[in-house]
Amino acid sequence: MTQRIEEKLYTLRWRHDRQSHIAIVDDGVCLTRCGTEWQRPCTTFCPASVYTWDGAKIAVSYENCVECTSCVLGCPYRNIDWKLPRGGFGIEWQHG
């Protein structure tokens, strides 16, 4: 009965914006410094699996974001530029 993250995200609803509210400031930091010093913790602590490592840079699935802001604090280099989604966009909880 163990659920994978893909199944969990399937329970959620968003109103998607066409523009991303998340950007990686400097891909080089993820590749080099974070790769050696931290092994890119955003790829494990983000509860919606927004961040994945594609071998050269962090791929950002901003559509999955549940707006917990953990990445704002949890990126060791403050290398994630995370802004609040525009009004009315983003996650829409059904229960809360």
Binding site: L9, R15, P47, G96
Partner: protein
Amino acid sequence: MAADEFDAIVVGAGPGGTAAALTMARAGLSVVLFERGARPGLKNVMGGVMYGRMLADVVGEGWREAPIERVVTDERLWLATADAVTTIGHTHVPPAAGPPNAFTVLRVPFDGWFAAQAEAAGALLVPGTTVEDVIREDGRIVGVRTGRADGDLRAPLVVIADGANSFLVQKAGLGRPLQPHEMALVVKEIIALPSGVIEDRFTLEPGRGATIEVYGAPTRGMAGYGFVYTNRESLSVGIGALVSHFMKTRITPWDLLEGFKAHPMVAPLLRGGEVREYLGHAIPEGGRRAMPRLYDHGVLVVGDAAMMVNNLHREGSNLAMAAGRMAGETAVHAKKVGDWSAETLAMYQDLLEASFVLQDLRKYERLPDLVERRPDLLQVYPALLSEAIHEMLTVDGVSKREKQRRILRRLLARRPWWRILRDAYEGWRAMR
């Protein structure tokens, strides 16, 4: 819009912001309440326990109409190892009259209802609008910048209630960026079960509810705890830990949650339930020492945005509601005297200092530091206690005195006596 059409702008329609807007609107102030969700509640999450007194202080008899899930009558604390649980619990018959002490809620319906009370009192709710910045002139906050076209709005007071990890607090120059050990990440699921099944499993009368907080093995060495709360026809099941500990351990939040759900004492409570929603949210953990300045010229900060969370007692929304009410009362006074400077708004800080809000946060101000440094305390002592009780309950022909000796030997093998004393002292100092 014309300059200063409103007395106050409130940013965020959660418990704190709505309480502030409602208090001001009832006193005749003109208030605009901004909410970035398409309607209030859509962006909001918590474990699920709220408190009646602080709600009644804001809405009066209106609490009777609040969309509560269950009145909490059974509270359990579990100290868990991988395959055992030691329980401390308290059950009571709730008083027949007056607001319930504690009750469970789902935030989407609750916050929607609460914001509607503020609207009914005359506050202007503007949903679907993100406030991106404050407007500053000559060292005073004079309004906000929203994401809308022509989105600047001015007012003599801005109440910042935009929740955990507030961007506006920093933009207003009231606080520093937070550190990863000052915030917890919590994930939870809404697991649907028929109400009769819930009442049978938790031994509850209809309409009454149970809460279980679980410390120990399920957080896998990280500082945090798991919980199971009963709603009318669902359970809120969640677990969280400091962001700094998630960074170090590389445990994914969903694995942590699945492990918690699979714990041998948790799994039977959830059996047959259907996962309706998976949620994630930040909870402020920094306590009083990580609080921003709470007021300045033309600005007040309430709730999660101001770190008003008492984690040990799982209280937060009640602190936010009380602070929101006090912010509202302060605004009413400022309007009366016609002065919105920091000198007048200092009344807000005074009200908070005289209340449980800042007194409790001051009492536990050392706790966040201990929790960040010593997550091992939450692993070692629940395990030792569990083993000790298990030993005493095991009837195997060994005398009770010998069992006591074994327990003590095992304790001292794991922890020399001077370290136990030091741990006890640190724990006492952090909570006295």
